[in-house]
Symmetry: C2
Subunit: 335 residues, 2 copies
């Protein structure tokens, strides 16, 4: 399975740790995704397996495509079968790096973009909450305190989004719907859909000082780990606010807490934390002006797996046509 | 000043209790509003007065129009001057009822509709928060607990709005933007802009049992006081959620707390409470699944007074033309 498809596709799906039916790749969902395909694909067989199944080696040896999130990296590294493609059910790949286990002939693709509609709604909510001082009101409620603060309508304010991929674009879309001026940050500064302006990472410091809302939506890599540190928060405009839609370790949590406690930041909403789940003993829970949600901004049980399988089906067609795959993870950059 | 305008208009504005400059009616804002008028108005004089000024009686005696919120009802009842119009800077009139102090020749108009853009954004935020389980997460944060719950995208769910006036319309607009199916409730069941369906109050019980989101946006009157009681909450669909954009006393707060504590309701966000400010001793602060904000959903310091004065200017033109006034308060119904 290199630049064409075998006459019969063998699909192997990993049963996720979560027992929620919505996040299971099932024979029915695969059949539906193949059914949505507008041009024909080879017949396929489908098998579901637990990541710790003792038969994993044999199952991998006779699979063309592996689908899932908790990839058994050692078994994949050792396989000598026809495996040509791993379709992740996650947008991020940070739980699998470094990618030195990935055999040379196997391509890895993510579920990036699948989360678009849900993330866009979550971003609209988060931006309106930051603008409307909800982090302040939540903290005031913990103190049993009626403490009004003014806010007008949100339009015309500045939004800076770190990351211009699938989740960044959804955040940018939310910003545009609300009438914000949306700037993106990516490595090269290349134009990206949904953004009115994009600046390269190296020049982000100035944009950081101008934005009313700063949102993280980039992958966790060695370069991005801890990027929101004391210096970065200090560069933000007094009263500006912050959200994290990416990964917990992008943020120095002590620096975030200090920026909120000093009143430098107007508020923050984080959907990711370090570690997850955040333990009850974490001082982060009680930081003023901080709302914590438990990594749910991307959840969409009604459509998540269907949309991931649509990416897979699209990539099978691309394979058959010899085209580069969508959402292909770069082995070195690991995103 | 009955169905025409005097050759020189005498405007008297009440200084509000809040010292926030944004909520002051000033000579500059009046001049700007008259300047925005597309057809000519008589020249005017403008005076600002504190509601407890000892010269109130004399000032009222030589005013054609009174502008403000905390109307000195006794002084107005006693006035024998040319006063013909009171333009409120509030959407609600419940703080002035019964309206038996209002002289027969004086019309009373509200600022209803002024809050539209801000309320629409607040309603979008609130609906997305209810859908996204933010009341649950805020309560979980108080307990230092990482406790994910699933939610998909919001579209297609049912929103029931009690009240189809200015604030109700803004809530309906927010619902339509989010793809909700929006039903309104008003006294007569008359069609109202922004609503896909309107049912009369007497038939609201069935709609109450079908909605995913129930929002109050109606005035406080003897008929609506306490309308959300134990029976009403019990009629709501299990897991449905609730918001109050109207007035605190529309809700039996003990019944709301019980419906949340039992888990019957999925969550609630209230921007109004009884009393206001809610004292620190209130048990409401700690009710699970409840987010309380301090009566800020309608605040819009950047445009509030300007938009209120635009209503006044529009009504001066209507007076000159002998047309019925916009936002006229019915003396019996008091809304």
């Amino acid at each position: 399975m290199l630049s064409s498809l075998p006459s019969r596709l063998r699909l192997l799906a990993l049963r996720p740790a979560s027992q929620t039916p919505a996040y299971q790749v099932t024979a029915e969902k695969v059949a539906a995704a193949f059914g949505r395909s507008t041009s024909p694909l080879p017949p396929y067989e489908f098998r579901l397996i637990a990541p710790d199944d003792p038969e994993m080696e044999a199952a991998l040896a006779r699979a063309d495509v592996l689908i899932g999130s908790s990839v058994p990296t050692e078994a994949v590294a050792a396989t000598r079968g026809a495996l040509g493609l791993i379709q992740l059910t996650s947008a991020g790949v940070d739980h699998l790096v470094p990618l030195d286990w990935l055999p040379a002939g196997v391509e890895l693709t993510s579920a990036s973009g699948v989360h678009g509609p849900k993330v866009m709604e979550w971003a609209m909510m988060t931006l309106l909450m930051l603008h409307g001082h909800l982090p302040h009101y939540a903290a005031a409620q913990r103190r049993h305190e009626w403490s009004p603060r003014e806010s007008s309508t949100i339009a015309g304010r500045g939004l800076l989004v770190f990351g211009t991929g699938g989740i960044g674009k959804a955040v940018a879309d939310a910003g545009r719907v609300l009438g914000l001026v949306v700037t993106g940050v990516n490595r090269s500064g290349a134009v990206a859909p949904g953004f009115q302006r994009v600046v390269p990472t190296l020049l982000a410091a100035e944009a950081l000082g101008e934005a009313d809302f700063v949102v993280l939506a980039m992958p966790l890599t060695p370069e991005t780990r801890g990027m929101m540190d004391r210096d970065a928060f200090a560069r933000m405009k007094p009263g500006a606010s912050f959200a994290n839609f990416g990964r917990g370790p992008l943020v120095d949590q002590e620096a975030l807490a200090a920026a909120l406690e000093s009143g430098h930041l107007g508020g923050a909403v984080i959907d990711v934390a370090t570690p997850e789940p955040l333990p009850a003993s974490s001082p982060l829970w009680a930081v003023p002006g901080l709302i914590i949600t438990p990594h749910v901004s991307c959840d969409d049980p009604e459509t998540y797996i269907d949309r991931t399988l649509d990416i897979l089906v699209g990539n099978l067609h691309r394979r058959a046509a010899g085209l580069p795959l969508m959402n292909r993870i770069d082995r070195q950059r690991a995103y």
